[in-house]
């Protein structure tokens, strides 16, 4: 496991510099520089995303010698804007792959990159103005809610009672929840409660404790996130009600995927929203510079149901997430 993230990043930077210096003749013409700007690893999902970004960059550099990458991670919006400006000013990038921290404030800096004639790939969070990016790669939040809802509908009897944990109040969370509600509509399943667990284990733990003291009958829990599912599981274990209800999380955390693989009755399935979507963005962007493949447009990664049968293909034991 690579623990020292910043050392690894530094090593990539150093390797880039070394290759650039020693092998100028080998490149077919000029080397293409791809700038990558993503939020830093402040929680599980972003941690996984950072790991996949570094992993993919390593592989792409080994495969295509005429590609160079500059990776910057930002802990705040302002820092991300600075990173992007620095990439254009000092590293002379040919393409930018960006996962915007927030849509509004990043729109004009990214537009400036586009206006300077660079290739722009936007990942997961759209900009607030349409038509800036050449390529848009994202997960499908509506499908995420719908796939979860369909599983509930198919596996619960009419009259069943469920509780829901929501994430941080955002449009993303609203899309998921609305799609979930639409998917279970008419099934006779009753949602007893919907509170925000902020995609956080501790918060989910205490919200679930309160659900358990409030409701005598709960048949299933839509935790909507794997971190929250872990907190929910502990709260249920504490109350000794493991046999009464099952839990569906979401994203694809390795511990949860492992349980699905092992056929844990408490976690029968998971719904994917893979942090590896950054790899898709990087690979496809790289194609633009190494081949004539047309790659502009939108690439939406579907959310699929992860079951014991297909869990192996979603299991990344080396990833921190």
């Amino acid at each position: 496991m690579e623990r020292r993230t910043f050392l690894t990043t530094a090593a990539i930077g150093a390797a880039t510099a070394a290759t650039g210096v020693s092998l100028p003749a080998m490149a077919q013409g000029k080397k293409a520089v791809i700038g990558v700007s993503i939020p830093s690893a402040t929680h599980g999902f972003m941690g996984g995303l950072n790991w996949h970004a570094q992993d993919t960059i390593k592989r792409l550099k080994a495969t295509y010698t005429n590609l160079e990458f500059v990776l910057a991670t930002a802990g705040a919006v302002g820092k991300q804007v600075n990173d992007i400006e620095d990439m254009v000013a000092t590293r002379n990038i040919d393409a930018l792959v960006v996962l915007p921290f927030e849509s509004e404030p990043l729109t004009s800096p990214v537009k400036a990159v586009k206006d300077a004639g660079k290739w722009v790939t936007v990942v997961d969070r759209g900009l607030s103005q349409a038509g800036i990016e050449d390529l848009y790669v994202a997960g499908d939040n509506t499908a995420f809610g719908r796939v979860s809802g369909e599983y509930f509908k198919a596996n619960l009897k009419p009259g069943a009672k469920i509780v829901v944990l929501r994430g941080i109040p955002t449009t993303l969370d609203n899309e998921r929840v609305e799609a979930f509600q639409a998917a279970i509509a008419g099934s006779g399943i009753e949602i007893l409660d919907m509170q925000h667990g902020n995609w956080n284990r501790d918060k989910a733990f205490s919200v679930m404790q309160d659900y358990l003291s409030k409701h005598k009958q709960i048949d299933a829990v839509w935790a909507a996130d794997d971190d929250m599912a872990i907190g929910v599981m502990e709260a249920i274990a504490q109350s000794g009600r493991q046999k009464e209800m099952w839990i569906v999380g979401g994203a694809g955390m390795k511990q949860i995927i492992k349980r699905v693989m092992d056929k844990d009755p408490q976690i029968p399935v998971d719904v994917s929203y893979p942090p590896a979507l950054i790899s898709t963005a990087l690979e496809v962007t790289a194609l633009n510079f190494v081949s004539a493949t047309p790659v502009y447009g939108r690439f939406i990664i579907g959310s699929t149901l992860i079951t014991a049968e297909n869990a192996a293909q979603f299991y990344f034991p080396d990833s921190p997430f």
């Binding site: 402040t42 929680h43 941690g47 109040p169 309160d210």
Partner: protein
């Protein structure tokens, strides 16, 4: 209540609000002190009225055990704030200590095996790390003479990023076997009272005694009130200040010992905003933010008020979950208003 004639105390209370510590003679809590207690009683009554399960043993245990982490930290914070300091780093420090503790226990596992000695070693490491972290904060405040706000703002960022780095951006998880052995430290207890609640109660009682009946407590109030005068009165100001930070560090370590068995993991989002909850609890309880007067039992009430608001909002379904923060904010401000207005108008 305001019609009870108490001329002397009224004056003492007015003075206290400005500069001086309260008259040492007053054993009974003054009128102002009852504000938070009143708020707590109202909350409990409201909770019982809104949901029949509110007063069930299970729910009470949940709320108290959840309060224990912030509670132990807030008791330590009471001493730091009373002596005129502040510590913003406690939430990140808890996350960092939890990370170090879990990694150390996982590393010791092959040599020590799953057993009580391993758990004890983990606990010792947590307390040691808490001691060192508190010592670091304290030395920077007293020896390097940097404002506590700045020192702990810095260490807050340092601890938070260190734990993210240790976790490689993900989550650090305790080995499954060790976890099963360690789990009862959060989930079981003595005579039906969970261990975290017992630990919190002991810390609170010891804190109350230390604040009211020991030299250390009196020195803290003297320093927070006026550190120059304290210095001229032969109080070793730097040493006492350093001790408050070390004490807080140790209590963060103790809180972590109780926290780790709960979920068996630590990540960059562990202990998020604990510092603000702890500070809010201290102030709700009647300790002066600018120092000079501390009330440990008030802090305990403050912590309980904060946890109860959360609990009631979920049990009752009163408002849209989007408004939970508003309700919390209003109650926090009200609890303080209740207390301040009594002290000035009585």
């Amino acid at each position: 209540m305001s019609d009870i004639p108490r001329p002397d105390l009224t004056r003492a209370d007015t003075v206290r609000a400005d500069t001086a510590p309260p008259s040492l003679g007053s054993r009974l809590p003054g009128l102002s002190a009852l504000g938070p207690l009143l708020a707590l009683i109202l909350l409990v009554a409201l909770g019982a009225y809104l949901n029949e399960n509110f007063l069930s043993a299970g729910n009470i245990t949940n709320v108290l055990a959840r309060s224990a982490f912030i509670g132990m930290i807030a008791v330590g914070m009471t001493f730091v704030i009373t002596s005129g300091g502040l510590d913003l780093s406690v939430g990140s420090m808890a996350a960092f200590i939890a990370g170090v503790m879990i990694l150390a226990m996982n590393a010791l596992l092959p040599s020590m095996g799953v057993g009580v000695p391993l758990i004890l070693a983990g606990m010792a490491i947590a307390l040691g790390a808490g001691f060192l972290a508190g010592l670091g904060n304290g030395l920077l405040v007293t020896k390097a003479r940097i404002e506590p706000f700045i020192v702990t703002l810095g260490t807050m960022g340092i601890f938070r990023s260190l734990v993210t780095w240790l976790a490689d951006g993900g989550t650090i998880s305790l080995d499954f076997g060790v976890r099963q052995l360690y789990r009862p430290v959060y989930y079981s207890g003595l005579f039906g009272v969970a261990w975290p609640i017992l630990a919190f109660a002991l810390v609170a009682i010891a804190g109350q005694v230390a604040m009211r009946h020991t030299r250390f407590g009196r020195y803290c109030e003297a320093i927070g009130s006026n550190d120059k005068v304290a210095l001229y009165s032969a109080v070793n100001v730097e040493r006492i200040r350093l001790m408050t930070y070390v004490l807080l560090g140790l209590l963060v370590g103790l809180a972590t010992i109780m926290y780790v068995p709960r979920l068996g993991s630590a990540s960059g989002s562990t202990g998020m905003l604990w510092e603000l909850e702890a500070i809010a609890a201290v102030i709700i309880g009647g300790t002066a933010l600018k120092g000079g007067y501390g009330r440990v039992w008030g802090t305990v009430i403050g912590v309980l008020i904060l946890s109860l608001i959360d609990n009631i909002l979920i049990l009752a379904d009163l408002v849209s979950p989007y408004l939970n923060g508003t309700i919390q904010g209003v109650i926090i401000v009200l609890a303080v208003v209740l207390q301040r207005s009594k002290s000035s108008s009585a």
